[in-house]
Amino acid sequence: MTDAINRRRKIQNTVWLTLTGVASLLVVVPLILIFYHLISSGAGALNVAFFTRLPAPVGETGGGMANALLGTAQLVFYAGLFGIPIAVAVGVFMAEAGRTRFGSFVRLVADVMNGIPSIVVGIFVWAWVVVAMGGFSLLAGAIALAVMLIPMVARTTEEMVRLVPKELREGGQALGFTRWRTTLGIVLPAAKSGILTGVLVALARIAGETAPLLFTAFGNPFWEWRLNEPVASLPLLIYQYAISPYDDWHRQAWAASLVLIGLVLVVNVLARSIFKNPYRSR
């Protein structure tokens, strides 16, 4: 009798554990499929024209996404410019005041803000900036991306600052440093590689955001440097081209996606190489 039960248990064991393997396969398969299509459909369109030419009129082939590449770079740059200082300051606050009620509250707000749908952020910035400025603009798009960036980087900054061992702090205080000098002069520099990692990863994430840009940056078929004019961006063009009927546009959309993903990959690898945590006891 026990043999029968044990046999059944063994079979159950094998079945369920195999199922977990199947689950893992099911998760990895879409990734492989996505990359397969990115490369097979997109690599072919990654030619010089793609990187250097402006979009062609509707229905014509031969255009490129040069201005969208620049536009995304600008959006990310300005978003970082506005957002990173604020985020780091908030992160330091959360790390220092983390145990107080106010600090925990701010942390909750940051986590909640990380979960706000990006389209809602876009609508908020539309109501605030676009309406006030009287038009769509690079600035509005950058602000929308900054609003998404700040809670992300604030949290990672907090975690990195927390990771700095308290011996360093105590060493500073033993030497007579006041609190602010300890934080700014010892703790922050010690945490800086971790903070940089968090910043890079967040910048890569916002580079791919589309929804916040729909009603802020709006789009532009030309080169644009000015802050108060609409600007093109890679994700917006991918969206526009993907839902269109033109094969040439589809190919360009795949190519642009490949570029975006390549960027994200590069940043993630970079982040890992920068942040070799000497403090983690793993």
Binding site: P57, G59, F136, P221, W225, N228, Q240, P245
Partner: protein, 396 residues
Amino acid sequence: MKEELRKLAGPAAFVFLLAGCWSSDTPGDAAAGGETAEGAAGQVTLTGAGATFPYPIYSRWFSLYSESNPVRVNYQSIGSGGGIRQMIEGTVDFGATDAPLTDEDLASIPGTLSIPTVLGAVVVTYNLPELTTPLQLDGETTAAIFLGEIANWQDPRIAALNPGVTLPEQDIIPVHRSDGSGTTYVFTDYLTAVSPVFTSRVGRGNAVSWPTGLGARGNEGVTGQVRQTPGSVGYVEQVYARQNDLPMASIRNAAGEFVAPGIEATTAAAVGIEARIPENNDFRLSIVNAGGPGAYPIASWTYLLISPHMEDCARATALLELVEWALMEGEGDAVALGYAPLTMEIRVRAMNALKVVTCGPENRPVIDPAETFGGIEWPSRSFGALFPKDAGGQSG
């Protein structure tokens, strides 16, 4: 690695900041006299938004024009509803719509001119690769399809209109616009004219409540969906169907003949429209359900929305010169794509209507009131040569 990044960051930041702060041509930049300094090398940038119906020709026009003139036009095709809305919000220099402004909308932007630019047609396109000849449909059947009353391609009502054609046994998947669309307006304008059931159940408008089917964004989106979905049927501007080699149904017009979409058929639909334009040049007119010989029943022209007063004279001048070029010399490009040209009389009247536009704080007229207009005529006979495939399908 880190060091290299840091070295790059500085110069990159410097370049961006410098470029971003160097701003000329800011909107609403009203220096004395209403004349603003034009941007680098006299560049004027215009922003426009609206209809997807004319987007192929607008993007072509703006690209051509900027090659030999220092004017850049940033036109975003977000649908007629979007064009009207952005005009009301004042975020663009001009709008574009196929749906005429309602009196309500006009009340928010009083005096806005609706200037026709080209004639186009809304075609019923479908994804049935088995069919070798275009489908024939009439108004009531089309309405029934989009109402969901006809759910299969083998329905007897469709078969009756297409004798001798083997229709596939397949579900019909209608595709409509999910955004505020002038194309929807024109299509529903036609359907409400020919089907009382459609009028009571759906009605006419930019954004109506469709009983069934998929929603897609822009003419581009509907065309894309129809291409992707077997058995689907959608309504798009003619040029989109042509550019993507999609079949177009021949629709039975008010005179009883099945008319295939084409430039001549569109032009035939607009015959006599000049007489209907009132003295005050209010161009908001409908030409659907036309009954003349060879007239395609779902045709319309499309409008540019231009404000009667613009603060920035450089932009106002640039815009109106662009419109003049497009109307007087650009109709050929429209024809090459598949739109039908406006007659010279309409084009001249449109330019004359623009004479009321003023600019700057002293309200000076942009166009000299004494100016006269002339350009290239487009005789309607020669279109067959441009689109030889049409010659076979046309009846009349």
